[in-house]
Symmetry: C2
Amino acid sequence: MTALQRIFGGAAPVARWATPPEYFRNGERRGLAMRSAIAAVALAMCATGVTAQDIRATGDLGLVVERATGSLVVVDQSERARIGRIEGLGDLSHASLVYSPDERFAYVFGRDGGLTKVDIVEQSVVGRVMQAGNSIGGAISDDGQYVAVSNYEPGGVRIFDADTLDMVADIPTGGKTIGLVDIPGGRFVFSLWDQGETWIADLSSGAARITKIEGIGTNPYDALVTSDGRTYIAGLFGEDHLTALDLWQDTPQPQKILPGYAGDREGLPVYKMPHLEGWALAGHEFVLPAIGQHEVLWVDARSLQETGRTATHGQPVFAMARPDGRQVWVNFAHPKNDTIQVIDTITKDVIHQFEPGPGVLHMEFTPRGHEVWLSVRDAGKIMVYDTQTFEKLREIDAESPSGIFFTARAHRTGL
Amino acid sequence: MTALQRIFGGAAPVARWATPPEYFRNGERRGLAMRSAIAAVALAMCATGVTAQDIRATGDLGLVVERATGSLVVVDQSERARIGRIEGLGDLSHASLVYSPDERFAYVFGRDGGLTKVDIVEQSVVGRVMQAGNSIGGAISDDGQYVAVSNYEPGGVRIFDADTLDMVADIPTGGKTIGLVDIPGGRFVFSLWDQGETWIADLSSGAARITKIEGIGTNPYDALVTSDGRTYIAGLFGEDHLTALDLWQDTPQPQKILPGYAGDREGLPVYKMPHLEGWALAGHEFVLPAIGQHEVLWVDARSLQETGRTATHGQPVFAMARPDGRQVWVNFAHPKNDTIQVIDTITKDVIHQFEPGPGVLHMEFTPRGHEVWLSVRDAGKIMVYDTQTFEKLREIDAESPSGIFFTARAHRTGL
């Protein structure tokens, strides 16, 4: 998961393009509380406490971040229901999480530097370390052995044993790290805001071997990797283009793409930075929320050239493709964050628009795309829609819900 | 799942290209035993019978078909171990299976027309119907509500409620059906051997609405759909090309692709029909086992034009891309079915070759591709390899293992 793939909070404008986005200005030192405070939560379940209805397969579960209360709602996609709650996770603004390969454990990355391991079956916290003072996102290695966290304060990446949460590698960078993703081969990729570099940390030997790639550009603020783990793309705060790396090359060379992409910065105030997660593949194209504009960009997935634009209701935050790529669902920055638009991939036209409610912060599709779940923060609801009929199927109560994470993410690369 | 995506058995040559493949000649009538014999297996688990170690998340489990004994081995990917066995599934030659969205239940399609529902958590058969006399594969709808089975005897497709195994739709076609796959929108697609048609069955309303597309070509013998559910491609027994359909079109029109593809039929005896599952996306290309030749074909994923060929050790049966697309693993027809070759996607060169043992029938990658499991039938072993180092990590005993199916398939379209 990368920084801009986080669920940003706050209904108020947080940044204009001309100043660094919110999280870069949040520089107060909280001190590095490197207490290896793994909660020794015993698996208290015993024979007498378990009944048949406790046996849950984990393939259709999920967790929804309740940012205001530092808790997670456990949901069941098939039942379209909340089935539990896990509390005590600290500051969950900008929180995200990844799943273990068996879809049982989630690793939750809190803004406060907390790394919390929760058991979705037993609905409990099974481990927690304060691993930094200010962090933003993490990733899990392809074999499920290592969990990496990207830190602002102190800068760098720390890597933990997924079983024990013991730290196995500390990679200081002398500054903020962003755009941390996993790629095949037990590797992690991330970028350095200050130095404009991208580093690859290879954990396949058990220790971190670092490859450094210079010349990414001025102030990468977020990055993503394509779902095959091949193309890493960094957004740049100080340049008028993005930078791509082909990670299949022996020595990846930075390639400028979408020159002039940021040329419209003056156009409109940027209430929220768009999320690069929007680079979902829709047919033969990627879809990208345009920065500071009321439009999404279409980009050829192979050439990385712009192929079109679609005018939208507001400034897009997420532009997410349904898993089959036939539709793109877009939510918007404040004050238009009560609305969703659905774009058809073939015509690039908006085919549906509706207002789920105030503060639509995140969307998550069921793995095969037949339904989509929306977090409607200020309504205190998670809403479930049929993606074919657009019918609302269910409302589920939650406290200020933000990010929605289904367990199927366990099987995907680069999240 | 489509017909040629099955694990074919038999070490001996079963067909030359000039005659129909084995399963078409297997025309003996077994009679339609439409006994609605859902085994009323009570969930006998009670509080006193369950312990903490019985709690298993299902995201990293799998089933391996033991063809000779009509049983399934339950495996755990993370532990690289067998954790149980499920018996009593009838004739499992050419068997395949699909998973429920929660990754708890598998629907097993036996050659004898049996449709068996098994619980991978409790490791038991929870339902079984003899739904036809001779069937070949099935699929599950995107919402997990419907399971469809493709039948030879009697021909047609039957669709069942995934919970109860009650039949909800009977679609007779007057002949054999092949290439049954699921696509988004509660739909199934399949083709008719005799009529050269492709039908789309839309179950979204609860009843089957049929769309028929004529002119697919003479005797489609198998088909596949791309992972986004968009492009359906049929292999033709009686034509010198393949036929593609763009299912995103309102009225899909048959398009001839790879003309001359079958032109080398005279070249070598065809010991096994290649499996179209080999059309995995590797970078920007699909990989296809060439019929009757010692080579694989590379096909541009967008234009569907041939882009290259790689000479191989024998006649390829499966050419499967690692999930990230960087490698393609190939197994071969008898008598070279003791060997695996690994091809690099960029150079299209064979970069590794080894002999796991006699009768390598199937391969399944872990969802993020760090390991691959092989069925080595005549060694009575499942073998697990690291895909980066090619090191063998584990051998697991099994009786004549064939198809390997990991639960992550639950989240994918078109299997």
